[in-house]
């Protein structure tokens, strides 16, 4: 086990508490940088989606994980970012400009959503953000002069400083990775400064935050704006990656996927956003595998256990029919959420911390270490 001896206040501020972190993250970054030369183009494409989902995950963590304001409207922020990019691209606006413009516009709209949300908490806030997402979806479908309605919009190949960056090139992947890393570093900076602490204070006790001088309304709006702006940036990358956007891509289902990202990853740390993004992006190939290979495998197993050819074929057809059921993806999402909330509320990152602690303390680890204890009941009077 490692003991940290702190000799300077700097030790509590720095991003890497000790040299071990520098090595780990250095290796991770190196692996990510050589990834395009090693991985197949399919996996690279998935990795780009991991980056984009992780950026949105970080954005949602700022709002939901750290400020405690739930949102099911992030697909709408993503859509606004994506459509801003597609629209400005028509007028030959260079990438850096429309990238920043998309973030700025989404941030402003995020702040505007934040204002009515000031008086709402919990489930009511969720309903308000869903309504916002539905409104945006409807506007995208109807405002044909700008968005081309349900026909959708074609997004031209990204051009960075005059050089074309195709959506499946390593350069595009590096761009997404850079945005993700910058987002994470910026968020970490925010979390170790007064604004980040004010967010956490609002999450845990608005009354106490207020009496410590935190302007709760202002910081909630700030949190909405920052979260929306980051999602807007992700939207630009999303639009370029898909090269075609239409309103039915930004539905409630996508917002739910973003919630799953942070719920499964873990809502208390930025690691959660990345782990959750990997999970949600990789579940698609898994489902495809389920659809294509599982029927054959199960039929094979049945055959080895002595089932006749006719029975095995029957089983294969039934499994195939089940695997291609329409709502299967949604059902699997639902089951995953329920299981995680019940058995691992801290998410994948929480599980990782437990495994790490198990080996650090071996053989002294006890299960109760992570058991939450309630010592007293907090008064609800001042709410």
């Amino acid at each position: 086990m490692r003991f940290l001896f702190k000799t300077d206040y700097e030790d509590d501020i720095k991003l890497f508490p000790h040299s071990g972190y520098v090595v780990t993250y250095g290796v991770l970054l190196a692996l990510l940088l050589i990834a395009p030369h090693v991985l197949s183009s399919y996996l690279m494409s998935q990795l780009v989606f991991v980056c984009i989902y992780a950026i949105v995950g970080v954005a949602l963590l700022i709002l939901t994980g750290f400020t405690g304001q739930a949102s099911l409207g992030h697909a709408a922020f993503l859509a606004i970012g994506a459509y801003t990019a597609a629209y400005l691209q028509k007028y030959n606006v260079p990438f850096p400009v429309y990238f920043l413009a998309a973030g700025l516009l989404t941030g402003i709209i995020g702040a505007m959503v934040g204002f009515p949300a000031l008086r709402l908490t919990g489930i009511y806030l969720v309903i308000a953000t869903i309504s916002f997402a539905l409104i945006v979806e409807e506007i995208l479908a109807r405002w044909e002069s700008v968005t081309h309605g349900n026909e959708g919009m074609r997004v031209k190949t990204l051009s960075l400083l005059g050089v074309a960056v195709p959506r499946d090139s390593p350069t595009f992947y590096y761009l997404c990775l850079a945005v993700l890393v910058l987002t994470i570093v910026g968020t970490l900076n925010l979390l170790r400064s007064p604004t980040g602490r004010a967010f956490v204070a609002i999450r845990d006790s608005e009354t106490a935050a207020r009496s410590m001088g935190v302007n709760v309304a202002l910081y909630k709006v700030k949190s909405f704006a920052i979260s929306a702006a980051i999602t807007g940036f992700a939207g630009v990358l999303f639009a370029h990656k898909l090269s075609f956007i239409s309103p039915e891509m930004f539905t409630l289902q996508l917002s739910i996927e973003f919630i799953i990202v942070i719920l499964i990853g873990g809502t208390f740390s930025l690691h959660g956003a990345v782990l959750g993004a990997i999970f949600i992006v990789m579940i698609d190939p898994f489902l495809t595998y389920l659809k294509d290979d599982m029927p054959g495998i199960i039929a094979g197993i049945a055959a080895t256990f002595g089932a006749g050819t006719a029975t095995a074929g029957n089983i294969e057809a039934k499994v195939a029919a089940f695997a291609s059921l329409n709502g299967l993806k949604g059902a699997i999402y639902g089951i995953i959420i329920v299981l995680f909330v019940l058995f691992e509320p801290l998410g994948l990152y929480g599980r990782w911390l437990k495994i790490k602690l198990f080996f650090q303390l071996f053989p002294l680890y006890k299960r109760a270490t992570f058991k939450r204890q309630k010592i007293y009941v907090k008064s609800e009077r001042n709410r």
Partner: protein, 252 residues
Amino acid sequence: MSYFRAENLSLHFGGLKAVDAVSFAVEKGEILSIIGPNGAGKSSIFNLISRIYRPTSGRIFFEDQDITEQPPYDIAKLGIARTFQNIELFENATVLSNLLVGRHRHSTTQLWQELLFLPSVRANEKVHRRRVEQVIEFLDLEPYRDKLISGLPYGVRKVIELARALCSEPKLILLDEPSSGLNVEETGDMSFWIRDMRTELGITVLMVEHDMSLVNRVSDRVIALNYGRVLAMGSPAEVQQHPDVVAAYLGA
């Protein structure tokens, strides 16, 4: 002119007069206790001062400034900090970040500076950290720095809440039942700290308290309340012998 003054302060919930035309003044450097039976309106007065409730009528002055209409977050900026009767800490954060939130009124950096963590932010953080460390030393909280609040016992949480209030470097501190839930030894510590706050840090103290031994040990003056009205005001001994106070506690 008094340092802190409440004039005809009233708080009505429909027909219920939780606080009824209460006037009192606190002198600079004084320790003033408010006592009274349950439901007398003691905590309501605190919630009026920190603007959790809006007074039905009456005015509040601090350093000759009318603060009745100030928004709640400005109260802390003026130098009035408070603790809560039922601890209101930030449960899922470490002790250190709880205390650093107490420094919020002294933060001057802008959002964009914080995103980049510019040297000015870093320098400010170190100043905050040093101040917090002074408070940690003052209240003997060294063992708990990096602990999460959710894992700490009640007595320690009580001290941390006091620490968080002190981190904001207040001029006036409102303590809502500082000894509730503490054992005799912890209450003893609390009484020393309250007196030290006044003598070493120069903080004026206004507190609500049920434990008469603590009240007697630290208070310069005592106000007794019942049904939202002031029954008696004066030295601890005077107030305790006041016939109305005796009647309120023991029944006429």
